[in-house]
Structure formats: C-alpha cells, structure tokens
Subunit: 709 residues, 2 copies
C-alpha cells in the first residue's frame, strides 16, 4: 500500500508552480491547510472556551474525549462498514462502558458524555439513554420517592439484572399520546392491573431495547377502574426473567428490523396479553389508585410536563454539535480541494474561494454558532425552571403560578428550538455532503450515516411539525394574554411592545447594527403574532368557530410565527452572547452574528417588505452584505472551525482531518477497508462467468422450414 | 403469525362508532381508502394515459412492469435487508436480465425499462447503464463508425466477454473534466498510447463496474503528442482478461467500498501504470491522431456536447417517477392514519384532513405533475435537437448554426431542469418520509433507501450547483444577445419581451388565471435576467473585470435566475399540457397546475414584491388560495395518486399499498423479515449476560486501613 500512496510522478500540467514549487494535486493539501491555519487573527483556544462555556468545561470535555478515544471498544475504523447484527453487538459492548459513567458523574458530565459518544455513535447513546433517560427518567418524575427507591433496589440505577425500556408509541398512535389504546384494567380482587393490547394497531412499536435487551418497561396504558377510563398513565411492567432473559407470560416481543439509521439499537415491538402486575407498579406521583379502586387525580396537569422536555433540550444542544462536525469536514475539504482555474499558470482555485461555495458553507457556520448560543440559554432556563418546579411551595399560589408560567414558556420555547435546530442541522449535514461532491457520497466520510442517524431527531420525542404548531398556538395565547395586559414570558416579551415595534422601519439606518437587526426580527415576529391573534379573534368571535377549529384554520400561520419567533430568539441570544464574550474573540463572533442575522433577513425578506420595515431598494444591499460578510469570515474560517475542537477521531472522515491531507487519508482508508487482492467478484464463478461467457445465439435457419407457408 | 394479525379485542375507547359500526384502528384503514377511492370525479385511467403520453405507452409500460414483477430474480421482499455483498450479487443477476432487453427494444422501451427497474432497484439500472449508457454511449458518440463496429464485434453490443466501464472522474478532479491528470502519451515508434496515472490524486475514482466486473473502459486522459498537451480525450483501455477476468499488466483496481446508497454497484478505483494500447483505441470521431503523430482537432467543440445530455434528460424524467412513488406511499398513508380527534365520539381525524398536512403533500403532488410535463417537453426537444445535430449538413452554415443554437439551449435547459428536478425530488422523498412520522423511518417503507439511492443524482453527471451556475451564465448570454436583437431559444424567448413584461402588474386581475400566472413568472424571470445583464455590463465595461471575474462576481444572481427560469419553464409547460389534455381530466389537471403556480408564487413572493408585480396586500390572498386549492385537490387526491399506476410491487412499502391495509401489511412485513423465536440477542451469552449479571461492587472497608494517615 505504501507504494500506492507515494507520489507516482509529476503533474502533467507541469507548467503550474505554486509558492515557487511545482504544484502537485496529491501532496499540496496539507500545505494549503497549514497556510489557512496560520491566518488566525484571534486566539483559537479562547473561542473554544467560549463555545464550551469556559476553560474548565473545555478541559473536562477533552478528558472525556481522550478517554473514549483510547478505549478499544470505541474503535471507529470499521464504523461505516458494520452490518446490522455486528453493529448491535458492538453497541451493546459500548452501552456497558457508557453506562458505568452515568452514576459516577455529575449531570453536566453525564450529558456531555452522552452527547460526545452520540456524535460518533448515535446508537450507543440512544440505547443507553433508553434506560437512563426514558425508563429511569419516567420512574423518577412520575413515580413516588418510595417507588424510585424500590426500582433502584432492583438494579435500575446500575443496569444490574435490570434494563428498562419505554413502551409509549404504538403502531397506530404516536403524536397523540392521549389516544394510546393499550389498557391497564384494575382488578380489585387481586389488587392488580391487567395490561392488555386490544388489537394489532395497539402493539407497542419502536421500543428501543425491547427486541433483545430489556427486562422491564414503563408502559403507557389507559387506566380503567370499574369500567371508567381515566386516560393514559404509566406502569412498570416486567418483560423478561432477569436470570435467563426468557419472556414473561403474556409478553410477545419482536424485532423491528431495518431502520433508516441507528441500526445498533434493538428496537422492538411488544404486545401484552392480559399481563398482571401488582397495583404498586403503577407510577403514582400524580394520579393514585388505592386498593379499593379509588382514583385521585392531580389538580395540575402541568406538573407532569417536565419529563419530556429534557430530551428536547438535549436535541437542541446536540444540533450545533453535529453541525460542527460536518461543517468541519466540509470546510477543511473546501480549503484544500481545487477545481477550475481562473488564472493561467496558477493552480486551480480552492473551492472555498468561490463566492457560491462560501454561500453554501459560511452562513451555516454562523447558524451553528447561533444554535449553540440559543441552546445554551435554553439549557440554563431549563435547569432553573425544573428546579423551581420541584421545589415550589404548592400552597404559595403566586410562586406556583409563576413556576407554571415558566414551564409553559419552556414547553413552547423548547418545542420551537428542538424543531428548527434539528431541521437546521439535517439541512446542514445534507448541504455539507453535497458541497463535497462525490466524496460526500462515500460511506467513509460519514455524511450518509450521519444524516440517516440524525434525521430521526426531527420525528421522535415530538414530531417537529406538531411541535411547531403547538409553539405557534402558545404564541397566539401569549399574544391574547398581552392584549389583556397579562404577563408574557421572557422569550416572547417583545410582544408587549407590539405597537411600538409596528411603526419601526429601517429608514436609512445601518442594517449591520445588532440593535437594528434584533429590532427588525422582533418587529416582524410581533407583527406575525398580532396578525394571528386578530385572525383568531375574528374566527372565534365573528365566525363562531370553537378554539380547536380556529387553531386548525390558522395552522400555516401558527407554523410561520413559531418559525420567525425561534429565529428571533436565536439572533437575540447570539448577539447577547457576543456582547458577553472576551474582547479577543469579539470581532470574529460579531462577524458571525451579523452574517447570521443578515442571511436570515435575506431569506425572509418577503415579510419585511410586506410590513414595510424594508423597502425594495434595501434588498440588493443586503445580498451584497451577505456576500461581503461571507468573504470576511472566509479569511478566518479554518481557525474558527478548529475552535470546535473536534479531534480526527470525532470527525471520523478522512477528507476532513486536521492536517488537511485529504486525498492521502481518504485513499488510505478506502484501501484499508477494502483489501481486495482478488480482482474477481466473490460470486464470479457462479454468476459473472456463466453470463458473460454464454455462447452466441446462432440464427435459427431451420425455423423457416418448420411450418410450410 | 395469523393469530397475531387477528383482531385481539375491542377498542378501549369503545364509545366511538363510525358509519354505524364500532370503530377499530386496525381494521378500518382499507375501508377508509376504498371510500376515498370512490370519490373520483374523473376517469382515472384517462389521467394515467395523460401521464404516460398516451394509451399505447401505458399498455407497453404495464407489460414491462408485469414482466419484471413476475421474474423471481426481481423479488423485492428482502431488498431493504440486503447486506452489501449480497446486494451486489443480486444486482449482477439482474444486470444479466435487464441487459438482454436493451438490444431488442426500441429506444422508448429501453429507456422506460431502465427507469422502471431503477425505481425499485437503482443499483441494477446504474450498473447496466454504466456499460450501455456510458461506455457504449461514448464509443458511439466519440468513436468513428468503424470503431463502433469493431467494439461491437468484440461483444460490446451484447455483454458477451465484454463489460465496459467509464473512467472519467479522478480522486482529485470531478466537475472540472478538462483538469483530469491521467495522461495518454503517444509513442510513435510503436504506434501506441501509454496510459498513465501520474500520482494518487489522479486515480480514477467511483468507476462503476471497475471493482469486479469490467473488462474494458473508456478512459478520459490528456492526449500528449511530442510533449504537447492537447487536452482530455477518450481512449478504450482493456482492464481484464476476458477469459479469466485477471487484471491486465499495469492495471491496478480496488473496491471503493461503502457508499451512502446504490451499494449494489461495484464501484472501484483504477490506476494505470504505463499501460500500452494501440493508437486505434483512441476514439477519433472528432480529434484524430495519425501514425506520424499529426493531430487534427474538430472545428466545433459543440459537436461533442451531446453525449452527456442524455443522462441529464433521463434524470429529469426520473425525478417525477420517483416523486410519484413516494407521494403514493405518503398520501395513501395519510388517508388512513388518524391522529387526534376534533369531535368527541367520532374517530380521530385522518391526518390528510389537517390543513398543515395537506400543505406538506399536495403542493408537492402538483410539483410532480409539473416536473412530468416539463421533462416530457425537454425529452421531445432533446430527440429533435440530437437528430438535427447528427444529420445536419456541415456545409450549410445556417442549418449548422441553428443546430448549434439548439444544442446550446438544450445544454442550459437540461442543466437547470436536471438540477432543480433532482433536488425537488430529494426534498419530496424527505418530506414524504417525515409526513409518515416514525413509520417513515422504518427500513421497510423504503424512504431511507430511496433517499440514499436518489440523492447522488444531485451530484453526478454535473453537480447541481455547477449546472445551475452554467445555466445562469447561459441566460445572461441570452440576455446580452437579446439586447443586440439576436435570436433567443424558445424556452427563454420571453426575454425579448422584457420591456413589455417589466411594466406588468397584477392590478386586481384574477391571480388564478393561467395567463396571469405565466406572465407573473415570465416578468420576474425577465427582470432577474435583465438585472444580471446590467450588472455584468457594469462589471465588465465600467469596473474592468474580465468575463470570468464578472461571472464569478455574479454567482448568486446566476443561481437565482436559473432557479426562477426553470420554475417559469415548468409552470408554462404544465399549463400548456393541461390545455392539450382531454376534457374529462382538464378540471383536475387545471387545479393541480394552478396550485403549483400559486404555491410557487407564495414561496417566491419577495421578488414579486420587489418588482412591484404584487403589492403587500396581495399576499394574504395568495396564501388563502393555496389553502383553498389544497382542499380542492385533497378531495380527489387518492384517485389522482392511483393514476400514477404504480403497483404494490413498484411501491414496495407496506404502509402505501393499494388496498390501504397499512397496519396489517406493515406488521406482517416486519414479522416476516425478522422471525425471532429467540427473545435473547445472538450475542447474549457472550456480552449481555456477563455485563448484566456482574456482581455488585462491595464497599471496600479495608481501604481506609491500607495506609495510615
């Protein structure tokens, strides 16, 4: 192989010299990347600290990364070639490693470790997360303290003779959790619940861990007591014997098989046929059933909101991490890939130097920073709100209401951020792949698997479209509340300034001014919300529609206002975080933030034209500015990408490695993963040869004589 | 299994009745779909004839489909579970079948058969197409008649002891074909060419068939004679012995391995080390080299344009076919999937009845019809132009110029249509997948493999972005020509009416009028092109930029005008084909065409606002109309989908089958493909058990005494 990797001869377009040396397509890339790196005008390390939330975090993250990188169980060389069965096996080994850190580490570290492992192996994080996040999270948030202690004593805290899964989704019901059809019928005589799948469409579906691993599940089922349906509650149901892993009586499971991605997870389906569990296995922090069949329900639904939000917040956080990985690959490649020459006698141009290529990558780099800033702010809000919720004095009405208002805002804000960030990152992965041309389509540069693993984020734990519609509904409700002088949460507080914002126009001010850019988006967003509120009132008060009908009628508008509000939130969060950053990195961050806002403005220009904030004459200037900022950021783009601080191990793409030796690493990887000394197909003798060496068909001269005319 | 599929009991939300019967999530879907189907207000068969281009075509296509469906080699049940090695093997078997039809059938049938097979198995079509389309196509278009006859006599017409591949792309060069670095140096002494790979980055890359199958290749290499570089030409190079498939001396091949999709193709890399071929193996229809080393070059480059265009035209045609497949799945599923109830006591609503869900599917259905109309028109233009080109009298200057003008228009039109149609279909597949929620992520409903197989179309045979930029350049050139009173091809002929179009406004006319909609797009497109021409002239005449620099400066604008021009072409083609359709299907087609144009207008409203064609007050009306047309089309949507006439075999997705029995077929398929009588993982004893049954770690009480404080 070494000889193949060597330089086999001079460039035939030999007249081309570069920096005084003969230019060579194969050997030049690392030189080019080093030159790009040397252009840094800011302390790269400082930008890493900014991204990680401080030097201490960076150090912790680097320690975790090193630990993973060195662990042979996490060897990633064959990751893109694993057939499903092997993938699941390796995933199980990694679950064994990852799970041992969960208990030991504080929350920040646990979450970070999950994120980091997920970046290179999404299946492992999900398969571990099914137990610790979904099963254990449900027991903790919906069970009593005694129930939590009980299940921990059974092994739920350490994965000893215990692996929990999460039976929520059914074949026939996903988004509408309240419509699940599995039943949990109370049998007073035996003090048990009978869990039952009434028909095939009520089969639990997509259940991670169910096919082969899980011993227990949290099952969502309709509580039926004395023939009365109390709606969907949570029940712990044992699935397998913890000694020999055989199925418990009445439990049927199957393997869901092939998925678009995340094939390392043993997703399964589960049917319950009159399965009996002790009454005490129902999680009773909120609704309670006593042995007499008396049902007590909690006064406030909102108290159980919190459980699902954590997942959404994580997805918003992971969005910028994944985007950073694929942008690192595509941007480094663009800095060494040359195609077409503009000046005779010079090497071809780097594709990164084409304005159109900059358009494809650089605004999305800015977007990634914006997602980082926005999700960081959301994460802090989430911690605060969850803590308030858990500790609130339920007799203090004011405190309770304020906690509930926070939860509502958290619910709608996280819905919008989860949806648009996961979509944004899916689009970024796809764009990055395309920007690498054919090499983006190779399995070994990670884009295919990355996309396939990522996009489920747009569907699970709240389908993005449904989330947007519910965020849009919350914004209309906030708008209605604001009109009555009610309180509006922080993220949408600009609604209360609607009137003032409505009269704003650019009016010749500098569009690059952060204040102007934030104002532009706040005014557009407030205007959209107000229009939706007007239409809502018209539909309900004049046209006699009920709430549900009116909201249904306003679907498209709800989606749009959620979209613009989320974008506004990102722009504001990004500028705020730039403001708080160290001086040494402020200029580069400020360019990125301004670019992000201008690019957003350009893409959404229709609504600024409709509102009159912009006039048609402003538009060409904005496009020119986007090009200009792309050019500015391009000069520093390799140092910026370096600041993401993802090692080659976490990039796992030969064309995107740190040293820029793209063609060498890529060729090397392809040869290493496909060692074929045999130039024939494995099926050559059986299939290729008989077909390719079949004899010629001869003209059948006898045919004409076969039957007389 | 049968018992699992049976109805296991009553619906727990038992109060719900539907059409007088108790509602059941599992058994209701086929009933619901039959009801949708019964709503047809037009002759579905007639719409199929429209889509296929006439009754006779429909019958031919149905015959081909039946033939494929019945052939056990094309059994598709395990298609989504095939590991790469098995996939390649089955693909080779299918190549054997498909290739036997190529010679026998006229062009229409060959192309249709390739398209149809590609719809369910893209690898087979590509792997066969590598020989018949790329290799054989290159020999036919770039070789002399004698050369063609020679290679046919060697087996190139029938795949007997002959399989051709196509060595164009190199590791370091894709889009810039002229920059390829492989050399073909003429050796006068032996009357041979020496084919050589100068360094690793010049390795031929992505070569379909090279890893295991191909015996010969058409190789793109720089013609070097007496030290002079004549640029890239085509050479036939033998790769393997046709008896035992061993590699010829100097040929190194390797397997490219894992790709994002199309894993049934044995893509390989090829390096040539001083490989000698007879001079006569250079394809010499245009450039010729005689035995003395005299090189004669053709007067007109454009004469060799044609070869690559056929592939682009096919991709534009296939775009609507693939979109039809995935829309069939998503729309039928949406018509039987219910989620959330709006009226108590009624079943939940069909997701197809939600306005927002209609927004996701129905305009894309209209888009698919538009792509069909546009690609059909392109196909006809292509046939005519190619025929003219081949038969033109080269001494008739006028005829020659006209043929060349046609080729230029064909080049830029096919570039734009290929790019936006392949992107459009990628987006449609993705949207359709998401609209099926989690079930879209299952491997068995085909979206994952469909997307992964499809998206390479956006990259190969002309990267979409590069194609758009070149189409944009052609439009600027057409604009320049129009200003000088020159001729402009048919598709962009509206440029000559720029001045008249510039003054147009909606002015209260009915926006649903096809004439108004076409005018709106023609005016926007003409305006964009004119603005680009103005800027081009400013840059070249006032700012002193050369052509290349000016075009580079205008990249974003070039992309935009290509986009709007292509959309304009689709809208005009669609309305024209509606005009020519039978009366019985005109109403439904007219709704689709109007919806497509309105939806396009809404998405692009910024430019109509900037131009003043629309005023801000027009916008809400357009959104309302889009919703209204979605609602109208929704009523007939199942019959419209049925008219695509794709059988369950070609859909290959249990949730999208004709009878609508989505949950039954899906559950059935998952169980059939994953028969697990064993509830433990195959690696249970080795991995799960030792980890899960590891003993508890005990507190190490001795530790404190180990070292004295």
């Amino acid at each position: 192989m070494a000889s193949r990797l060597a330089n086999l001869g001079a460039n035939p377009t030999a007249a081309v010299t570069h920096d005084g040396k003969e230019y060579n397509t194969f050997t030049e890339p690392p030189v080019a990347l080093a030159q790009e790196r040397a252009k840094a005008k800011f302390p790269v390390r400082e930008l890493t600290y900014y991204l990680d939330g401080g030097e201490e975090n960076t150090k912790k993250i680097e320690e975790m990364m090193l630990d993973i990188e060195r662990n042979p169980i996490f060897s990633m060389d064959d990751q893109y070639d694993l057939p499903m069965e092997k993938n699941r096996e390796i995933t199980m080994q990694r679950v064994g490693v990852l799970s041992q850190y969960v208990q030991a580490a504080p929350e920040f570290e646990s979450l970070k470790r999950f994120s980091i492992v997920g970046l290179i192996d999404a299946s492992t994080t999900t398969r571990t997360g099914v137990h610790f996040g979904l099963f254990f999270g449900a027991v903790r948030s919906s069970g009593t303290n005694e129930q939590l202690a009980y299940w921990v004593s059974k092994g739920a805290g350490t994965l000893r003779r215990f692996f929990g899964c999460f039976c929520m989704t059914e074949l026939g019901h996903g988004s509408n959790v309240a419509g699940m059809e599995t039943t949990a019928t109370f049998d007073k005589k035996t003090d048990e619940f009978v869990i039952h799948t009434p028909h095939v469409a009520a089969t639990k579906w997509w259940i991670g861990g169910a096919a082969h691993t899980a011993t227990h599940t949290v099952c969502y089922a309709r509580l039926i007591v004395d023939g009365k349906d109390y709606g969907v509650k949570n029940f712990v149901v044992p699935l397998r014997d913890t000694e020999d892993w055989s199925l418990k009586p009445g439990i049927a499971v199957g393997d869901i098989g092939k998925k678009m991605g995340r094939d390392g997870i043993d997703n399964g389906w589960v049917q319950f046929t009159h399965v009996r569990i002790p009454r005490q296995y129902m999680l009773m922090r909120y609704t309670k059933v006593d042995s007499e069949g008396n049902v007590t329900q909690p006064p406030l639904d909102q108290l159980s909101y919190g459980a699902l939000i954590g997942g959404r917040v994580s997805m918003a956080v992971d969005s910028s991490l994944w985007a950073a990985r694929f942008l690192t690959i595509a941007t480094r490649y663009a800095a060494v890939r040359r195609q077409f020459s503009s000046t005779p006698g010079e090497p071809e141009s780097k594709i990164l130097d084409y304005k159109f290529h900059q358009r494809r990558l650089i605004p999305r780099l800015a977007y990634t920073f914006a997602m980082r800033a926005g999700s960081e702010k959301l994460l802090q809000f989430h911690s605060k709100a969850m803590e308030n919720m858990l500790n609130v004095d339920k007799n203090d009405k004011t405190a309770l209401n304020s906690a509930i208002e926070d939860m509502k805002e958290l619910f709608s804000l996280s819905a919008g951020l989860k949806a648009f960030s996961t979509w944004g990152t899916a689009e970024i992965i796809d764009q990055c792949r395309q920007s690498c041309g054919g090499h983006g389509y190779s399995g070994y540069n990670g884009f295919g698997q990355g996309y396939n693993d990522w996009v489920v984020q747009c569907t699970w734990e709240g389908d993005n479209n449904i989330l947007c519609l519910s965020a849009g509904r919350a914004l209309i409700q906030a708008g209605l509340s604001a009109r009555k002088g009610g309180k509006v949460g922080d993220a949408a507080s600009y609604i209360t300034r609607s009137q003032e914002l409505a009269s704003k126009k650019l009016n010749g001010r500098d569009i690059r001014d952060p204040k102007v850019l934030v104002e532009a988006f706040e005014s557009a967003s407030a205007r959209g919300i107000n229009r939706a509120v007007d239409r809502y009132l018209e539909l309900t008060e004049k046209k006699g529609l009920n709430q549900t009908q009116a909201f249904e009628e306003l679907s498209q508008l709800r989606f749009e206002i959620a979209r613009v509000h989320t974008r506004t939130y990102l722009i504001r969060s990004f500028f705020a975080s730039v403001e708080a950053a160290k001086d040494s990195i402020k200029p580069v961050l400020s360019d990125l933030a301004t670019l992000f806002a201008l690019w957003s403005l350009e893409a959404d220009s229709a609504q600024f034209l409709v509102s009159g904030y912009l006039s048609p004459d402003d538009i060409p200037q904005i496009t020119t500015l986007v090009d200009e900022y792309n050019g500015k950021v391009r000069e520093q783009v390799i140092p910026i990408i370096d600041a993401f601080n993802l090692s080659d191990f976490f990039i796992n793409a030969p064309i995107g490695q740190y040293d820029g030796n793209a063609y060498k690493h890529y060729f090397d990887k392809v040869v290493r993963r496909n060692p074929n000394r045999e130039s024939r197909a494995p099926y050559h003798e059986r299939l290729v040869k008989p077909f390719m060496q079949r004899p010629e068909e001869e003209d059948d001269e006898d045919l004409e004589e076969l039957v007389e005319d």
